[in-house]
Assembly symmetry: C4
Homo-oligomer: 127 residues x 4
């Protein structure tokens, strides 16, 4: 089993938005934005997240640790840090790590009766 | 808090289409195509957008500014410029900026009773 | 207005599938797989498409031309060539062009009463 | 017809999740996560998959072969190997091959009455 680190250390999510309102049983069907991270390496990854908004200065850092050889799927709704990230507001994320990660961005939108999904590998920035 | 620019200066959206028709309360559930942009740097980004069509010459530039350290989620439906971009027509976008950006393309389609979503990081062209 | 070519000349769609069955008015809501292409350059792009299957040899080439400075959104359902590409069958596509293109892959699935969407920039291969 | 290998040999899916529950006829509308792979080359590709979890050590390798010049769309639900991959659990995948592949990640979620879809080209890691 390999423990080789994979990915890069700066990632961007440009379309951040937590849909305001949900249909169906919580928490599974609660509308959410998520960043899904893999730390395939043998050292813990210390991750900081900055949140950029349309009409005010960025907020952050939000901090979390992804242990060695672990997946970590983080709902933005649940981020603990300087302040909550509110539903219904446009934002972008810059995710930095001291170890290589891979980041995928996924939204579940259950504002209407049936849920919609979207996902993309985030933008890997070589900074 | 960093103000380092991230991304690149030319981006392409190849599947542009504003679904003609919507279900649900406007504007949140109005069918739309969006380009979600991050300017993480310390200078405003001047952005020009060219729209390519199937059967006529490209139209543009559409111009907008993304301030320093700001997110800007732009519905294509709402672009102001040479002419409106109409629903129900296939198009592609070339997005150019004088400062690095990251661009993500998202569509919400509410033509039928429940909305559908799709999203992808746009294509970063190194021109 | 620029006419500079953007993109690359080989692209891959790995998840090809035309959902068998549709709900809603044709052709807009007919289930389909599409490759959305931009030729931003000043010369026509001659495109060949090979279709790879699970249990038999690849089929192709399917040929089409994307004129200079044009978008071309091609439903796979409608490809004309050696043989039709059937609904309900897994496939992959290799798209080659003599001029740079950008390719985005999108599916609309209306097998159930409300449509679902997915989209991703295709994989740009530097061959 | 070309048989040139395309792609790279290490790929990552960061948002792995099999939705627990389905609506509609099996197997087509059964909720699933899939990795869709193209081996465009002239030699079989031997693929190993490692599964990373949130709170325990990775599991693998899961092994499969993609024949020369073939598409292979693999539902994660159906992977045979050290142990089943269970619905309702977050995971990430590292996919390694001895020959170049292209990998796209797609989910169909039919927990609610109408299905939702998401797809992205996986992250190509140059290891």
């Amino acid at each position: 089993m390999t423990t080789q680190a994979i990915g890069t250390t700066t990632w961007v999510v440009a379309d951040g938005y937590i849909p305001p309102g949900s249909t169906g049983p919580a928490p599974a069907m609660t509308s959410h934005d998520s960043i899904c991270m893999l730390n395939a390496g043998s050292d813990p990854a210390h991750v900081t997240i900055e949140v950029f908004y349309t009409d005010r200065e960025p907020v952050g850092p939000y901090e979390l640790t992804v242990p060695a050889r672990r997946a970590h799927h983080q709902r933005i709704n649940d981020l603990r840090g300087p302040e909550p990230i509110l539903p219904g507001i446009d934002y972008c994320l810059v995710i930095r790590s001291d170890r290589p990660l891979v980041v995928q961005h996924t939204r579940l939108d259950s504002r209407q009766a049936e849920n919609a999904l979207m996902s993309t590998i985030a933008y890997p920035a070589s900074l």
